[in-house]
């Protein structure tokens, strides 16, 4: 026998398969078919957790996904997982679990000291306390709070499991395999439709497994098994068990998480993906997600042993577990009353039902009397008593008179139902408040979805089954598969409603002829709303009155928020943190907003619900990542020369998806030393760089020149074949978008280069204008970035090196001037050689088809040996370009910068029109105090400013003073140390900066402001003599 509280003969567990497990280092035994929660309860273990804020003892409160209390840490080592609900963990042999949020143990927890401070841990305490003294935050408050927060610990080793994803298209997706979902799935599946039925439990059945039920003369559980077997046998049906639909997105796109091996234990199913993320696209969806039960708020309503009535019934019926020897139930509706009696029928341990209503349904009252359960009508429980377990309750009449104390070791509560509208609401569907049932129900859907069962307020078994059939009939009609029995009127209603984009399920259900909507009587809850016993009695009662058990939010927190002026339910939620824990308030949201409504003097519909967002239940990050881990997380682009770079010690930098050599350190060199050596070589002998990643676009067609004229700020029609030009591209608002050199290959053909990171964006931009604004232009754009490899030979010796490789090419300045290109043989390869420069030095960029890239690179390296040729990376490229004041898009520009701001007015035509030109006549772009590009030299030559640093006009302004506004006059865009200048230097954008030349500005930094002198952005060779080399 596994556990002293197991009910002989009851439950759907396998007593022949005992399973040993450990909880908080204690060895216990359960059965196959148990959850961790049911196995613990079978052993009489109620205390399993400490609460988040006050560290109060907590026990199982539910039997499902809505559990707020029983959060455990499962397993150890790399398999360990925090924040799991004991009510959802299937027991397996050797399971190891532990309580969280307690020290040293759940039985004796030092965190209870928080309770002494409960006066300051009220709603919004984190906004109100820990503010002073200011210096305490970093050293004291934050470390203490970080240690105190959280629900468990993350594993400290990489996840050893594998995760998969699968995409699936279907005609009908049914969510929830309770009675409504099963009957709906059977109907559509029998019509041959591609059907998927999903349920989070190991076996379909839902409430059929949780309460005593009879369908057509057989037990509910047997009926569910038979239905599941029929569905499993159909080729057009997929039944997913242990799978939670957690998100309902646009166009009937739903995502679900399937737990494939968790029930076996870690490492017991090698090679099988632990979880599978399902992506569904469904033509129609039927939601049969059921309903959660709701608590009633009274004093100390959080003690272990206090549980929702449906949970108690589930433990007794499904798992054969009694919660104790002597139980009391506290209800305000017939549904809860019936659940209490069902529990009694299985466990026989209920002594008293406390019912806030004057009378219960007479049939139920007769059942209670027959079962020997006393019922107290018109009474409430004011307070629960006990420490680590409930041991009694204080009862009062609804008028407030004391009605004595009753001993008990567990307490069942039912304050009504909250249909699980989460997925419907995500869809997004609107909700309506049903005053008769005191709950929110689905109202208007915006997608092709039906609702059925308890979600649709069909609480009785017969009406849930009928409602599932009705939802299936509407679904079939909408798909044009109307069964003969379905009347035309229903089909018309459904399809006309669907074509309007709105399907009001409740209305459609009522009019679906052939499936008479169940009358109001069988689904009547006879509920008398009771949110809080304190407010019913109109007086303060002792004890803490919890609304949100997981986040420790009490009734007085909500009332405090209302008093402090929080009117919106969304604001009150965030201020009090109601419903913001990992359970997302499944049992607390409606109670919280009802109490807020009362405090504000509003009705519940006036206050409304907060927004339901995915995920419905927590989703493992590993499952979301799937196989996209490590090197598969993002594509890596490498150039044909990559192997040489790697073999020669390059340190790589990520530029977009490209791996580019950052610098090539020699043994013993750090980055600074390597860059200094590379920069010196570039300026004195020669350097070589792999420029393959630069974006290249082939632009062809009769109107190619006209097209470039429109997209570039400068003129292109007169550019000679064989020549190149630097071009600027702006957005219509006149802000810089990209720059690059473009060459005219033929009268009707250009080769455009773009910045490495912008290549795809520029191609998209060109296509957009060609297709949407100028479809009449005859122009075709093709990306050729990956078709060409580019080797830049740079420096005074570059001509000699290239000449050695291309003896037939006339490289003299006269024959091959700056900003031209030539085609010819280089190292025996057909090549295009561009004489352009991004360093101010004489420079040739040699392009060959990419499969020859490595051969060309090797040939250049060999030929350069005699001429001091040094490979260099992006850092040296940056130093060299910044010394010349050449901009980088995205570094000197940020979508608020015009060409004129950068001193590039020379590249902006005043004659022709182009994208963005009109904007240069706007008042804002003509302001004289716009930020302008300048150069900065530090007074202390060793100072290299941090890029992004703010600049101020005087040291006194380096301190922020709210009274005088922002003291910043600009910021540093690029900053390096230049071995050639023997000094740090920077480019900066400063308001009216060109007028400040010669003046001192101050770079703001933690160690105090640093003076820097404003000057021209060109630091090196301002006359541009070096680009022609030494002839």
């Amino acid at each position: 026998m596994s556990g002293a509280f197991r009910i002989p003969g009851a439950g759907h567990i396998d007593r022949a398969q005992p399973l040993a497990f450990r909880f908080n280092s204690k060895s216990l035994q359960g059965c196959a078919g148990d959850t961790l929660a049911s196995a613990l309860l079978a052993n009489g273990v109620h205390l399993v957790a400490r609460s988040f804020k006050y560290h109060r003892p907590r026990g199982m409160f539910t039997a499902g996904n809505e559990e707020p209390n029983a959060i455990v840490q499962l397993e150890r080592g790399p398999h360990t997982e925090p924040n799991l609900r004991a009510t959802e963990i299937e027991l397996y042999a050797g399971l190891v679990a532990a309580s969280v949020n307690c020290f040293p143990s759940v039985d004796f927890d030092l965190g209870v000291l928080n309770r002494l401070a409960s006066a300051i841990l009220v709603a919004g305490f984190y906004n109100k306390t820990f503010m002073w003294p200011k210096s305490f935050w970093k050293k004291f408050y934050e470390p203490v709070l970080r240690n105190a927060s959280g629900l468990g610990v993350a594993p400290d080793a990489p996840d050893p499991d594998i995760y998969d994803r699968l995409h699936w298209h279907c005609d009908v997706l049914v969510v929830g395999a309770g009675p409504a979902g099963l009957s709906a799935a059977l109907e559509v599946a029998r019509q041959g439709l591609r059907t998927v039925l999903i349920d989070e439990a190991p076996e379909p059945g839902g409430t059929l497994l949780q309460r005593p039920a009879q369908i057509g003369g057989i037990a509910g559980a047997a009926w569910a098994a038979r239905a599941a077997a029929e569905l499993d046998g159909l080729a057009n049906v997929l039944v997913l068990r242990r799978t939670s639909v957690f998100g309902y997105y646009d166009h009937n796109y739903l995502m679900a998480l399937e737990r494939r091996t968790d029930h076996l234990g870690p490492g017991r199913a090698p090679g099988i993906a632990r979880k599978r993320l399902w992506h569904f696209r469904a033509a129609r969806v039927i939601l049969a997600t059921g309903a959660h039960e709701r608590p009633i708020v009274f004093g100390n309503n959080d003690l272990p042993g206090i549980m929702l009535a449906n949970a108690a019934c589930t433990y007794a019926t499904r798992y054969g577990v009694a919660l104790g020897r002597r139980g009391v139930a506290f209800v305000n509706n017939d549904h809860g009353y019936a659940l209490a009696l069902d529990t009694q029928a299985a466990a026989g341990n209920l002594s008293l039902i406390v019912d806030a209503r004057p009378a219960a349904d007479p049939e139920l009252a007769r059942r209670a009397a027959g079962a020997g359960v006393r019922a107290l009508q018109g009474h409430v429980i004011a307070r629960a008593l006990g420490g680590k377990r409930v041991r009694g309750v204080d009862i009062r009449t609804c008028a407030g008179t004391n009605a004595g104390r009753v001993e008990c070791d567990h307490l069942l509560i039912s304050g009504g139902i909250s249909p699980a509208v989460h997925l419907f609401s995500q869809a997004p569907g609107t909700l309506r408040y049903d005053a008769r049932l005191a709950c929110f129900l689905p109202d208007r859907a915006s997608q092709a979805v039906e609702v059925a069962g308890a979600l649709n307020a069909r609480l009785q078994l017969a009406s849930a089954l009928a409602d599932g059939k009705a939802a299936a009939a509407r679904t079939l009609a909408a798909l044009g598969r109307a069964p003969a029995a379905l009347a035309t009127s229903a089909a018309l209603t459904a399809s006309s409603a669907a074509s309007a984009g709105f399907v009001p399920p409740a209305t459609v259900a009522a009019t679906a002829a052939g499936t008479p909507a169940p009358g109001p009587v069988p689904d009547e809850l006879h509920i008398e709303p009771l949110w809080s016993v304190q407010s019913l009695l109109g007086r303060k009662l002792p004890g803490k009155h919890f609304i949100d058990l997981q986040n420790d939010v009490t009734e007085s927190d909500i009332r405090l928020a209302a008093r402090e002026g929080f009117r919106s339910v969304e604001h009150a939620k965030r201020y009090t943190t109601t419903g913001m824990a990992t359970d997302q308030g499944k049992t607390s949201n409606v109670t919280g907003l009802a109490i807020l409504a009362e405090a504000l003097g509003k009705t519940i519909p006036e206050v409304g619900t907060t927004t339901f967002r995915p995920p419905f239940t927590p989703v493992t990050f590993g499952a979301l990542a799937g196989r996209d881990r490590g090197t598969l997380s993002d594509p890596v682009r490498i150039t044909p020369m990559h192997a040489w770079h790697a073999a020669n010690g390059a340190v790589f930098e990520d530029v977009g998806q490209w791996k580019r050599p950052w610098y090539f350190p020699l043994p013993g060199e750090d980055m600074q030393a390597a860059v200094a050596r590379e920069t010196r070589a570039l300026r004195t002998t020669a350097g070589v760089m792999d420029a393959t990643t630069l974006g290249k676009i082939d632009i062809r067609g009769a109107d190619a020149a006209e097209f470039l004229n429109r997209v570039y700020t400068n003129a292109w029609t007169k550019l000679a074949v064989g020549s190149c030009r630097y071009g600027l591209m702006c957005k219509p608002d006149g802000m810089m978008m990209d720059d690059g050199v473009t060459a005219r290959l033929a009268p009707d053909r250009f080769l455009m280069t773009t910045t490495t990171g912008n290549a795809a964006r520029v191609l998209d931009w060109l296509e957009e204008w060609l297709q949407t604004e100028w479809p009449g232009l005859k122009v075709y754009c093709t990306s050729v970035t990956e078709q060409w490899s580019t080797v830049a030979i740079v420096g005074p010796n570059s001509r000699k090196i290239l000449q050695a490789l291309a003896p037939d090419m006339d490289l003299s300045n006269a024959a091959f001037p700056f900003m031209t290109f030539r085609e010819g043989e280089v190292a025996g390869l057909r090549a295009r050689v561009f004489r352009i420069s991004f360093s101010g030095e004489l420079s040739y960029e040699v392009n060959v088809p990419s499969w020859h890239g490595l051969a060309l690179w090797q040939a250049v390296i060999d030929a350069g040996k005699a001429h001091g040729l040094t490979p260099y990376g992006t850092e040296t490229m940056h130093v060299a370009r910044a010394e010349k004041g050449y901009i980088i898009i995205g570094q000197e520009t940020d979508a608020t910068v015009t060409p004129q701001d950068l001193g590039l007015a020379w590249a902006v035509s005043t004659q022709k029109d182009f994208i963005g030109k009109r904007s240069f006549a706007r008042v804002d772009t003509r302001r004289t105090d716009r930020k302008q590009l300048v150069g900065l030299l530090p007074r202390d030559k060793s100072f290299v400013a941090a890029e992004g640093s703010h600049l101020v006009a005087s040291p006194a302004r380096a301190v922020f003073d709210p009274a005088s506004g922002s003291p910043s006059i600009g910021h540093i865009t690029s900053s390096y140390f230049s071995p050639n200048l023997g000094s740090g230097f920077a480019l900066a954008l400063i308001a009216n900066g060109r007028a400040l030349r010669g003046q001192t500005v101050y770079c703001v930094r933690d160690a105090g402001p640093q003076p820097m002198t404003v000057g021209d952005p060109v630091f090196f060779d301002p006359e541009g003599k070096r680009r022609d080399g030494i002839d």
Binding site: D250, H251, S446, G501, E767, E768, R918, S919, R922
Partner: protein, 93 residues
């Protein structure tokens, strides 16, 4: 995630497409003839209806072609898809 019917490739997942904002905002014939206000209207002002919006999409990871979509901004229901240059279909009642 939306499911978008590219006029050339058929129904595809939204991740294959890029969004191009409100449709039917033609580049002005002569921008220089506009006042600053009119130019700013073209540059910056866009409709933001709670309801049907005609917008541009491009099949970036497919045929790379642009087209127009009429979409309900609350339900995301796509009520029309048409090629550039084609007139927008009549609004449904």
């Amino acid at each position: 995630m939306l499911r978008i019917g590219c006029p050339w490739c058929g129904e595809r997942e939204e991740i294959e497409f890029s969004y191009g904002g409100q449709a039917h905002l033609a580049y002005p014939q002569d921008p220089h003839a506009l006042t600053d206000e009119q130019w700013a209207q073209y540059l910056f002002m866009r409709d933001n209806p709670k309801g049907l919006l005609r917008e541009r999409w491009v099949h970036s990871h497919g045929c790379r072609r642009w087209f127009n979509v009429e979409r309900h901004t609350v339900t995301h229901e796509i009520t029309a898809i048409y090629k550039p240059g084609e007139p927008p279909p009549a609004r449904r009642a």
